[in-house]
């Protein structure tokens, strides 16, 4: 199991490295100062493909200090006029340290009127949350927020 995990990560890093050398894929750097875990980077790559992700436009509201990771209110909003030419097509939310990196994909359109969604999420640890918006012109915008969790969502807990 462990061996398998390592080989997929190596493959991914190899692919990413190779692409960067070729200069085909702009490397997604959300926060260069921080080493982004491979799973998070891979999940983001799955959604954005080879596009560049820029920082801005997106606002992620989540409490900075969470007492109970089992239910954390979260609101994502995007600065957009939501017209037929200029609107948000989708919002994707990712995490860094839960057992799997996806939180949710939300598909909107010009009929939404306002690019804002809210839900409640689970957080297994203190970590970074990333929200990415896909606009009608094909560009991707992101924001990341650090959250401190005092009681983690029960992933390993015996029931």
């Amino acid at each position: 199991m462990r061996k398998q995990d390592r080989s997929t990560r190596r493959q991914f890093l190899g692919l990413a490295g190779g692409a960067a050398v070729l200069g085909v894929v702009p490397v997604v750097t959300l926060r260069p100062a921080e080493a982004t875990p491979a799973m998070l980077a891979a999940a983001i790559r799955n959604v954005v493909g080879t596009a560049t992700v820029r920082t801005g436009k997106v606002k992620l509201d989540v409490p900075p200090l969470v007492e109970n990771g089992n239910t954390v209110p979260m609101t994502v909003s995007v600065a957009s006029p939501m017209t037929s030419d200029d609107h948000v097509k989708s919002i994707h939310v990712f995490n860094e340290k839960n057992p799997q990196p996806n939180i949710g994909n939300f598909y909107l359109g010009p009929r939404a009127g306002r690019a804002q969604i809210s839900t409640r999420i689970r957080l297994a640890d203190s970590q970074k949350i990333v929200a990415i918006a896909h606009l009608a012109d094909g560009s991707f915008w992101s924001v990341s927020v650090d959250v401190v969790v005092t009681l983690a969502a029960c992933t390993d807990e015996v029931i």
């Binding site: 839960n98 996806n102 949710g104 994909n105 009929r111 939404a112 807990e157 029931i159």
Partner: protein
Amino acid sequence: MTSALINVPAKAKRGDIIEIKTLMSHIMETGYRRTATGEVVPRDIITSFSCRYNGVEVFRADLFPAIAANPFITFFTVATESGKFDFEWIGDKGFSETASASITVE
């Protein structure tokens, strides 16, 4: 017995941006927890949610185990005409629930 809670304004002016709040009662078992004997509790989550406004899809979401139990989702739409909102939740183990709400647009 319906396990969904829907909040849609009963009336709106044409062109108003209205907020829709939905809650579906569901355990959202992550598939990462274990029983006392060490067996993994199988995943049982809602994977997809959608909202249709007079038959046209205006919002859709893919959900993952990181969504808290009893998924609460809110979003916005423009009130264009009187009619009906149809909501649908689809999940593991054949889970499928629908709900609807009507709106009068003046």
